[in-house]
Amino acid sequence: MAVETQNNASDRLSAEIAGLDALELGGKQRGSIAGRLWGRLWPMGIAVLLVLAVWEIVVLSGRWPEYVLAGPTTVIPELGARLADPEFYSAVAVTMRRALVGFALAMLIGLIIGALVSRIRPLRAGVGSLITGLQTMPSIAWFPLSILLFGLTETAILFVVILGAAPSIANGLIAGVDYTPPILLRAGHMLGFRRLQLYRLVILPASLPSFLAGLKQGWAFAWRSLMAGELLVIIANQASIGEQLHYARELADSAGLLATMIIILFIGIVVDMVFEAADTSLRRRWGLHQARN
C-alpha cells in the first residue's frame, strides 16, 4: 500500500543523495563490499606493520641474541617454509578437525546444560557454581581421567576439549537467560508459550547475543585445551599444531615457536571474524547497529 506509492519519490531522492551518503559517517551505510573490506584491511595492515617494526627494532637493538629472540627476518622465511610444506596443511587440518568437532560437541553439551541449569532452580543451586568451578580446572588435570575413560584415542583429546569449552558456553547461555528482558518473557507467556516452547521461541533468541559471546570464549577455551590435549595422545601419522608448538618450545627453537604462534594467532583471528560476522548480522537485525556514539 503506502510503500508502493512512495517508491518513485524515494528512488529520485535515493539517487540524489548517493553522493552525500558516501561522505557520511562510515559504517552507518553498508557501503560497497570492496570499501568495507578496505576499511578493515588498512587498519590491520598498519597494525601488522607496526608490530613487525617494533619487533625488528627490539631484535636489532641486540638486547638478546638471535637464538633467544628470533627476528622477523628469520621467522618470516621459517613461516614461508612451513606454508610450502604439505605436511603443515595436514597438521592444520588435523587440529582444525579436532577443534571443530570438539567445539560442536561442546556447543551441544553447553547448550543442554545451560538450558537445564538456567531454568531448573534446584539444579542451578546445586551445580550452577560448579560450572565456573569446572571452567577454572586446568586441562592437564583432566588428562588422567580422560585416558582412563577413553584410552589413547582421539576421543580422549575431544574429552579434554569439551571439558574446556562446554562450561564457558553454558555460562554464556545462562547469562543470556538471566538478562532476557522480563517484558519479552511475559509476552511469550501471554502468547501461551510454556517451558520448552518458551525456551525455544523466546528465551533462546533473546539470549543469542550473550550466547554468541559465550561461544567465542568457549572457542578460546576449546582451542587452548586442544593445544594441551594434542600432546596427550599422539596418534599415528597425524602431526598437529599443538605438537608443533610443544616441540618448538622443547627444542628451544625461537623462530619455530614464533612461527607457530603466528599461525595460531592467524587461525584465532579468522575464527573471530566468523564470529564477528555472525554478531554483526545479529545486531543489524536487532537494530543495534545504528547506535550513535
Binding site: M1, E4, L184, R186, A187, M190, P205, R285, W286
Partner: protein, 263 residues
C-alpha cells in the same frame, strides 16, 4: 461493586456468565515501609461478551490489575477466577520480539492454531492489513514508528485465539483518525467472538465510545470507586454529543475522586 452507584443503574444483564471475577484482590509490591499497595481489595466481574473500560489516574494500578488477571503475577490477597478461559494481554509497551520481522511477530500469536506455515503467514498479513500496516510485514520492529509498533502489538493480540482480551492503553500512541478506524475494527472483532474485554485507557471519550461499562479506579491504593453503565446504542461515534456528554460527566467524577484520594 463496592462504590455507591450514582445516577446510572447497573445495566449488566443479570444472567450473563461471568468471564472474569476478581474477589477481594490486593497487590502489594515490596514489603514493609518501602512497599507499595497497588491494589486494595478490588472486586470486579466482567461477563462473557462484555466490554469493560478501566479509567484511573496514572499509577493507580490499572496495569497491575491486568497482569494479575492475565496470571503474570500472583495477587497478595484475594482470588481471581477465569474458569479456564484463555486470556490475551496487550501490554502498555509494544513488547515485540526484536529478532523477528513484523509479520513473524504476529505469527507468534497464531502458533496455537493448527495452521500450516503459508496459512499462518497469510493470516498474519490480514491482521497487519487490519491495523493499516499491510506493507510493513518484512520490516523489523526497530524500523517502525512508536504508533506503528503499537499497532503491531494490537494485531498480535487480536490474532490470538482467546476468550478474554486485556488491553492496556492500546491506542495511546495513535492519532485520532487511525484510532477511530481501529475502534470500529475492535468492536467488530469483539462482537464476532463475543469476547470479554477489559480495556484500560486515559481517554474518557474512548471509554464511553467502546465500553458497556466504565469502571473508575482511585489512586494508591487502587480501589474500584465508581462503575458507570453506558447504555448508548451502538454503533457510537467518538465525536457524537451523547458520548461527549457522558464523558464530561464521568470526567467530573474522575476529577473529584482523584482530588479526594491522592494528595
Amino acid at each position: 461493586m463496592t462504590a455507591p452507584l450514582t445516577e446510572h443503574t447497573e445495566s449488566r444483564p443479570e444472567g450473563a456468565t461471568p468471564a472474569v471475577r476478581l474477589a477481594g484482590v490486593s497487590k502489594m509490591y515490596g514489603t514493609g515501609k518501602a512497599g507499595i499497595l497497588a491494589l486494595d481489595n478490588v472486586d470486579l466481574t466482567v461477563a462473557q461478551g462484555e466490554f469493560v473500560c478501566l479509567l484511573g489516574a496514572s499509577g493507580c494500578g490499572k496495569s497491575t490489575m491486568l497482569s494479575l488477571v492475565a496470571g503474570l503475577d500472583a495477587p497478595s490477597a484475594g482470588k481471581i477466577d477465569l474458569d479456564g478461559r484463555r486470556v490475551s494481554l496487550m501490554f502498555q509497551e509494544p513488547a515485540l520480539f526484536p529478532w523477528l520481522t513484523v509479520s513473524a511477530n504476529v505469527e507468534m500469536a497464531l502458533r496455537a492454531k493448527k495452521l500450516d506455515k503459508r496459512q499462518r503467514r497469510a493470516s498474519a498479513l490480514e491482521f497487519l492489513d487490519m491495523v493499516h500496516l499491510g506493507g510493513f510485514g518484512d520490516k523489523r520492529p526497530h524500523e517502525l514508528s512508536g504508533g506503528m509498533r503499537q499497532r503491531v502489538a494490537l494485531a498480535r493480540s487480536l490474532a490470538q485465539d482467546s476468550d478474554v482480551l486485556l488491553m492496556d492503553e492500546p491506542f495511546g500512541a495513535l492519532d485520532a483518525m487511525t484510532r477511530d478506524l481501529l475502534h470500529d475494527e475492535l468492536e467488530r472483532i469483539w462482537r464476532e467472538r463475543t469476547l470479554a474485554v477489559l480495556f484500560v485507557t486515559h481517554n474518557v471519550r474512548e471509554a464511553v465510545r467502546l465500553g458497556d461499562r466504565v469502571v473508575l479506579l482511585s489512586s494508591r491504593p487502587g480501589k474500584v470507586v465508581q462503575d458507570f453503565p453506558v447504555t448508548l446504542a451502538r454503533p457510537r461515534r467518538t465525536d457524537s454529543t451523547e458520548v461527549a456528554r457522558i464523558a464530561a460527566e464521568i470526567t467530573d467524577h474522575l476529577r473529584t475522586e482523584v482530588v479526594r484520594h491522592a494528595r
